[in-house]
């Protein structure tokens, strides 16, 4: 049913994204304070982690394997996962303004992290995750069973919980004195603390979200189009419950490790829709790649600008591009 233009344009966007992603990923391994030539990077990657013995070669090996690679993979997975979650949220909540943080996950994580920083609790990531899951639980409870048929109720529950938690975070900031800067920096997001642990959590979470979105692309098309999903064979409440729960938990993983990086989950799906249409068979993989690319670019910029908060850069890079596309479309 697709015309040649329909096939050609998404294929071209896909190719450009893959090439750009590969290039940016490669560049993120090459760039940094310690200069390591491309040939050396390739040799280190091919030869494995190896032992650290204080030699220049083992230093380069440690930089690649313990710093740059996990950081790039975490940024890639987080960007891809958040964009994938954004696609699911916008489809399932039938709301173009929906994003992975709509159901209070980000506010929950920020509250958990702010509390942990204020009271100097260990295991910051755990508290951020606990805050996310707690907020999500309250939102689902407030929404009730009816919310699965009526998404607006769930969005309202998310907004209310988010507002209460934002006020609580503001209170923690006011009371935390010297810790306030640490709270603000954590909330604005950074990949500076990435490790193989963050990769081990974020990468499977992103793959799960992307895989589910891709596998259920037809059901998502039906729901997102405003068609009567139940009459077309889609158990809409069950699909909504399952996917919102899974993608919210995945979002909780991303924000727990990297902070609340905004913009990607909201705008990348819209960008891709403008370029390749609303069909989820194309929207999910292209948003996945686009989100990963935007986050990698933003993290590269953050590294070059004395670890500026990555959320600021995602908005500064993606915003003008989105405005340009909107303007051209208008």
């Amino acid at each position: 049913m697709a015309t040649s233009r329909d096939r050609f344009r998404p294929a071209l966007v896909f190719l450009i994204l893959v090439l750009a992603l590969a290039g940016t990923f490669g560049y993120s391994l090459l760039s940094g304070d310690v200069r390591i030539p491309l040939r050396e990077v390739l040799r280190i990657l091919a030869s494995g982690t190896g032992a650290v013995d204080g030699s220049p070669e083992s230093l380069a090996r440690a930089v690649i394997w313990q710093v740059r690679l996990p950081r790039a993979l975490t940024a890639l997975a987080t960007g891809a996962g958040l964009a994938g979650c954004g696609v699911l949220f916008q489809a399932l909540l039938l709301n173009p303004l929906a994003e992975p943080y709509t159901l209070g996950v980000a506010s929950g994580a920020a509250f958990g992290a702010a509390a942990a920083i204020s009271f100097q609790w260990p295991f910051l990531t755990f508290w951020a995750f606990a805050g996310s899951v707690g907020a999500l639980g309250v939102v689902f409870m407030l929404g009730g069973r009816g919310a699965l048929r009526e998404p607006t109720r769930m969005i309202l529950a998310g907004v209310v919980v988010g507002s209460i938690l934002s006020a609580a975070i503001a209170l923690l900031k006011a009371l935390s004195g010297q810790m306030m800067a640490a709270i603000v920096l954590w909330i604005m997001g950074s990949f500076a603390g990435s490790s193989w642990t963050s990769v081990a959590w974020c990468l499977p979470a992103a793959i799960l979200v992307g895989g589910l979105g891709f596998g259920l692309h037809r059901d998502l098309d039906i729901v997102a189009s405003g068609s009567p999903a139940m009459a077309l064979g889609v158990n809409e409440p069950r699909l909504r419950l399952g996917l919102l729960l899974i993608s919210s938990l995945a979002t909780a993983v991303f924000v727990s490790f990297s902070g609340v990086v905004g913009f990607v989950g909201l705008v990348v799906p819209h960008l891709v829709r403008i370029l390749a249409g609303p069909n989820h068979l194309r929207l999910v993989p292209l948003s996945f790649l686009g989100g990963g690319l935007l986050m990698l670019v933003a993290d590269q910029a953050a590294r070059g600008l004395s670890e500026l908060p990555v959320g600021v850069i995602t908005a500064l890079v993606g915003g003008p591009v989105f405005c340009l596309l909107l303007w051209r479309r208008a």
Binding site: M1, D219, G226, S227, A231, N235, G277, P278
Partner: protein, 252 residues
């Protein structure tokens, strides 16, 4: 056979349908008529399992519809609700192809049969000219025909339509009703909620009248008289001879 037996159903604990028993037989067009709020839409929703019966049962081919998964139901019953609000700019042919979704596996590409059904549905609803157009840019009538085409592409044994001609001009209203009659001639069971009594006289084999959530009666077109219509709609009616042997009803 698609049947409701002593069905109660409603929304948020408030009953809309009260003890309705009705069946849709293969090869017939059953018209549902009644004033606003009489329960026509809820009955159609209950018959396809979108709204659950709080009491009584709906059976499809002898099986309880509440115990069937949505995919199996959708392969046998198509349903076009009264309201349609397209929220994203899918193209018309993509919307019609969604009717084939219940016949396809997650990664299965639409095959020759699917493409043929979509083409037939687009042609039947005269949508070829706008097939590439985003549904969000269609007129109300075109959007309604896109919804009807999606149901036709679904190719089910039973088709339920809620006011299928509400947004259509007279020519397209007749086109749609002719297609519904054709579906019945092909052996499918068709039920349509209608407000136009004369369309019901012309195309339906039976007319079911609802009022305040109750089924007042099921009549053959010839059996319906002024008294029946007056009881249902609470206005006076008169009949006049129509083309051929038909008759036309007017509220006065």
């Amino acid at each position: 056979m698609l049947s409701a037996s002593r069905v109660f159903a409603g929304y948020g604990g408030l009953p809309v349908l009260r003890e309705i028993s009705l069946e849709i037989r293969p090869g017939e067009v059953l018209a549902l008529l009644g004033p606003n709020g009489s329960g026509k839409s809820t009955l159609l929703s209950a018959l396809c399992g979108v709204v659950r019966a709080t009491e009584g049962e709906v059976r499809l081919g002898g099986r309880l519809i509440s115990g069937m998964d949505r995919r199996s139901v959708s392969r046998q019953v198509a349903y076009v609700p009264q309201q349609f609000a397209f929220t994203q700019g899918f193209r018309v042919e993509e919307i019609v192809l969604m009717g084939r979704s219940c016949w396809l596996g997650p990664f299965e590409r639409p095959g020759e049969t699917d493409r043929r059904k979509v083409e037939e549905a687009l042609a039947a609803m005269e949508l070829e000219r706008v097939r590439e157009k985003p549904v969000t840019e269609l007129s109300g009538g075109e959007a309604q025909r896109a919804c009807l085409a999606r149901a036709l592409a679904q190719d089910t044994r039973f088709c339920l339509f809620d006011e299928p001609t509400a947004s259509l001009d007279p020519r397209h209203a007749l086109l749609v009703m002719e297609r519904l009659a054709e579906l019945a001639r092909e052996g499918k069971g068709v039920a349509a909620a209608l407000h136009d009594v004369n369309l019901a006289f012309r195309y339906a084999s039976r007319l079911a009248f609802l009022k305040e959530g109750r089924l007042l009666g099921v009549f053959a077109p010839r059996e319906v008289n002024e008294a029946v219509l007056e009881t249902v709609f609470e206005v006076r009616w008169c009949f006049a001879p129509g083309p051929g042997l038909s008759r036309l009803a007017f509220p006065v």
